[in-house]
Amino acid sequence: MSSAPPPLVSLRALTKRYGATLAVDGASLAVAPGEIVGLLGQNGAGKTTLLECLLGLRAADSGEITLAGLDLRSQPREALRVVGAQLQPSALQDKITPREALRFHAALYGVAADVAALLARFGLVEKADARFDTLSTGQRQRLALALALVHRPTLLVLDEPTTGLDPQTRRALHQILRDHRTAGGGVLLSTHDLDEAERLCDRVAILHRGRIVADAAPAALLIRASAGTRLRCRTAQPQSFPDFQSSADGLAHAAVAQEAARAIAALTRAVQEAGNTLVELQLSPPTLEDAFVALTGDAWDDKPEAAP
């Protein structure tokens, strides 16, 4: 009888302080093989610190970290062998070429990497011998990902990997991550892109002020947050409605409704009774942003997180 493989990431009660600031507060998280987990949070929520602790770049004050069953503290080199990481900043030396960088990293991991295949897979064949300082942002990001995969790791840890990428490159990168998942690997990525988290991730962990306030599949998060349907409407004459927020001129109105049909019926009835006319009505399904707002009580700030 074969036992289940250990989780690729297991964080338990991780805490990290910077002086009086509690950057990560008892965070627990797991990533299983064949799973993409997104780490979602505002600026300063602690995402980068959490990833850095996970990779041993910063020493956690307390908590346990195991990677593929290997304790990071007692077996750091063995544990890091299973990880391919892409961090911010992820620059290389100005004058190194993608081919050299891949060969160098592969050699230091002690693996015989198929550098040509990696270059082809990441669309870098034409730039294989170009100096790093001549590469575009997208090419640099793809090279960073190729370097993370050069030793065929089972776990990928990526810090905002799609920041600054064009839509085409972003889609290609998503496909690479899905392929990695299909091959049984795991991915832990921090992201600021709610749409990316919703479409790509099997699970999303919301990090708020150092604490993981929710950790579930995107759909489950919406249910758990009781995020309702967004209703927006305009009326011909100024009017106010209970449960709706209205604009100053009384013509535009918005609400979040748990039962959209009932709310629309009440709205149309109120408009008819007032002799008014409904000139526009929009319904939007609940999003992760709504879930985030509901779970944290904070508005979503879509600026990328700055390095600490």
Partner: protein, 446 residues
Amino acid sequence: MSASARFGDALLRQAWLSLRLNFRAPMPVVYGYLLPVVFLFGFGGIFRAGNPPLLAEMGQLLTITILGSAALGLPTALVAERERGVWRRYRLLPVAPAALVGGVVLARFAIVAGAVALQLVLAHLVFGTPWPSQPLVFLVAALAATFAFLGLGLVIAALADGVPVVQALGQCLFLPMILLGGVGVPLAVLPIWAQRLAGFMPGRYAVAALQSGFTEMRDPVGLGYAFAALLVVGAAAAAIGLLLFRWDSAFRAGPRQRLGALLALAAWVAVGLGAAGTGRLRPLLPPGYAWQEITDAQIATITYENLPGDNELVTRLAPPLVQPFASTRLESVAARLAVWAPAQTENSGENIRHLVALAALADLAQDPQEGEIARLVYDRLRAVHPADELRRGLAWIILCPDDGTVVTSASAFGLRREIDENAVRNRAPLYAQKFLARELGRIREP
């Protein structure tokens, strides 16, 4: 592959990569190779009158090259890569950190070696400077100096939060050593206080060690101390630099790094105190010390490793002269020495001091026969003073350079120009050392 084989493999791969990348960027090539060549031609322009040209300055010239490339070039490269996140990425590799840092250091060794070789070849081809007469001593000296300055480079890399800070810290090391440490300005022409201060700076020992590879004037005891000083300074700095190495620019330099830098500087102080304690930093005796009371033990503390050669720009000394002299002026100088009033007082110590000052005067006045005059002075000293008296008198000049009186002109010898007293007091001890070294058999006449 065993752990040690993996370590060696990573170290060599890192060294090879660093070396290749170094030659692809223009600035490292400019600072590592072009600037030393500019220095070479600068020195060549100033000292080409030397015989042979530049021979006496090669120790200084090569120290500047090694200091610049090792103590400035290494931390600049390391900190620039750290700022870009390169070392943060390296930290995730399953490789011992020392292999990666060691690889960069090894590459820098090769870069320094290239710059030194380039200067040797150009000096030889352009100025006719001889190759090192003691190749093995020169090789060991170059390695020791590079080791010492690379160690300091690692400390700077640990301490600096950015490349501009590297430049600032590097200049804090570079400029004092160039100006006061006997690296840019020859030790022999520095004031006494600066000569003492130079004993606390590794640059002085690098110059002495490297120069000993070129010139026949060697003092094995002093040379050994120079090598030991470089190794102590280098080992302390390298250990501290590696211990405090920072992978990530997000971690700013803190009290640990500052304490480490102070410990690295403590090695300089230890070396300086060691030199002072073993009589390598003169003067040792308090002002007013009677020359008759100077003991053999005090004389034994005097070292000779930094003396210029007899054919060099300063303190020339002609080989023993054969009578009759080739020039009538020398006949006249020899005759006048026998009756020169400042050397006829009742105080033998003062007489010795005045005669030695006369040699210094001729040297400072750039008399065409300065070397021959110095030789006649030495012959006169030997002729009229018993050996024991002469040794104490010479040691008094070396150990108490500010005591007694000195002559600042000697028109009877055709030296009419008044020379600054401080200049005479700085120069006279060098001649006293040359004479004393001969009296003690530390230098044998050809």
